[in-house]
């Protein structure tokens, strides 16, 4: 098949599509890791941290994902109504969530190693 000319919009669309397909699982992994690292965290702080680390994440993807992770029993949620300030909903990892995270981290590591090997050894094979 003949190679064809393409517009920058077409390229951008294709990249966005690829990112969309890749993002969901990765986002879930990052959120679970963040919750484990901080032990107990609420939505705003989580978004703040991920954004500071360079991740593009908005309310529109974070909160529905948190809700799903609670429904799927990976996260536990509890309300904290302090005498000072606004009530906050805090998330912690469940026992299931801890084991689930450990396993998906292994899979991610494995896939990432494959990715790195292809880069390094590309010229040899």
């Amino acid at each position: 098949m003949e190679d064809m000319a393409y517009s920058t919009e077409e390229l951008a669309r294709a990249v966005e599509k690829w990112r969309g397909q890749n993002r969901k699982g990765f986002l879930e992994l990052c959120i679970l890791r963040c919750v484990r690292a901080r032990k107990r965290v609420y939505g705003f702080a989580l978004m703040d941290q991920l954004q500071q680390l360079g991740m593009e994440i908005s309310e529109g993807s974070l909160y529905p994902l948190l809700a799903r992770l609670v429904k799927e029993h990976s996260l536990l949620a509890e309300w904290d109504t302090p005498t000072e300030g606004h009530p906050r909903k805090y998330y912690t990892l469940s026992l299931f969530g801890l084991d689930f995270l450990a396993q998906i981290e292994e899979h991610y590591e494995h896939d990432h190693q494959v990715f790195l090997k292809i880069q390094d050894g590309g010229s040899d094979t």
Binding site: F44, E59, G60, K71, E72, T83, E84
Partner: protein, 339 residues
């Protein structure tokens, strides 16, 4: 768009979800907006809201997450538990015909050595009253979904199922805690001395008299009215009104659009009230002067005789005092505190 219309549109878009879930999402996101605003106080409200995902898109993500959660739950056979919690949604068609199907049925149960009671119900109204012994009377039209109970030590758990209409519950003097989870039934009556109550309801109204007890109530659209002697109150509601008459110590109230009226009768007033569009009216025992911090974005404040200061985007009033410390915040609701 203002914050208020944003939240209202979001609530509208989420209306297909069970109200407890919807209220949870809204309270959480309202708290998120609060934090965003406090980080960027110089940013006008409308600009800040414009940066948020559109309510319809946002709600769509939640509904998609809800659906995927549900399918997986069914696969894990968690479905029966959920069905009993949100039973009204799925069985309303069947329930419509149940009156034609059979005779009204009744159950009477007696229990002894009870200090804790947990009731799970769908649409049954619940009446509670103080008594010498623990018993209950249930009326409804059921065939397969018959109410059931189990006792573990001093804890009695009742599941009324989807087809019970009325539970009359006689509470023993030794009762410490009554826990009620219901979708749409009303809860009314009086507690025994020193008993605490915890209620989770979607649209049921709550009207309970306490006698030196703690109250914890979560509702979506039901009104909450508590009186008697309340030693501590923790109330969350989306659109229900909250009336507390007889509070003696601390309170935490979060409300989206319901009005809040609190009458402290004794003790030091401690706690926090957060409301979006609901008005807050607080009456303190004469002579009491707790420390008060009240702020509102677009409402009015009148707090004891303290002067109200204005800043761009908010009015606030801060007056020292003690014993007791009250923090009150609203978006558009008015705040009124008086002796």
């Amino acid at each position: 768009m203002t914050r208020k219309t944003y939240i209202e549109e979001l609530a509208q878009e989420l209306s297909i979800l069970p109200s407890e879930e919807r209220q949870d999402i809204i309270l959480e996101f309202d708290s998120h907006i609060d934090e965003l605003m406090s980080r960027q106080p110089e940013l006008p409200e409308e600009d800040l809201i414009a940066r948020l995902p559109a309510p319809a898109t946002f709600a769509g993500e939640f509904l998609a997450a809800d659906a995927s959660g549900k399918y997986r739950e069914q696969a894990e056979t968690f479905s029966s538990k959920r069905a009993s919690e949100s039973g009204t949604r799925f069985s309303s068609f069947r329930r419509f015909f149940r009156y034609a199907r059979g005779e009204q049925q009744q159950l009477d149960w007696q229990f002894s050595d009870v200090t804790q009671i947990e009731v799970v119900a769908a649409s049954a109204d619940i009446q509670i009253q103080a008594a010498e012994t623990c018993s209950c009377h249930i009326v409804g039209y059921w065939d397969d979904d018959e109410p059931s109970w189990e006792q573990t030590g001093t804890l009695v758990r009742m599941n009324l199922g989807a087809d019970a209409d009325l539970l009359t519950l006689a509470l023993p003097p030794a009762l410490c805690v009554l826990v009620i989870k219901t979708a749409s039934g009303d809860i009314r009556g009086a507690l025994v001395p020193n008993a605490d109550i915890s209620i989770n309801t979607a649209s049921g109204d709550v009207q309970v008299e306490l006698n030196h007890g703690i109250a914890r109530v979560m509702t979506a659209s039901g009104d909450v009215s508590l009186d008697g002697v309340i030693t501590d109150a923790d109330i969350k509601t989306a659109s229900g009104d909250v009336t507390l008459d007889g509070l003696q110590s601390s309170l935490r109230i979060a409300s989206a659009s319901g009005d809040i009226r609190v009458n402290y009768t004794a003790g030091a007033a401690n706690g926090s009230i957060a409301s979006m569009s609901g008005d807050v009216s607080l009456s303190l025992p004469s002579g009491s002067q707790p420390a008060v911090e009240a702020s509102t974005v677009s409402g009015d404040i009148s707090a004891l005789n303290a002067s109200v200061r204005k800043q761009p985007g908010r009015k606030y009033c801060s007056c020292p005092g003690g014993p007791g410390e009250l923090k009150i915040k609203t978006m558009s609701g008015d705040i009124r505190i008086q002796n």
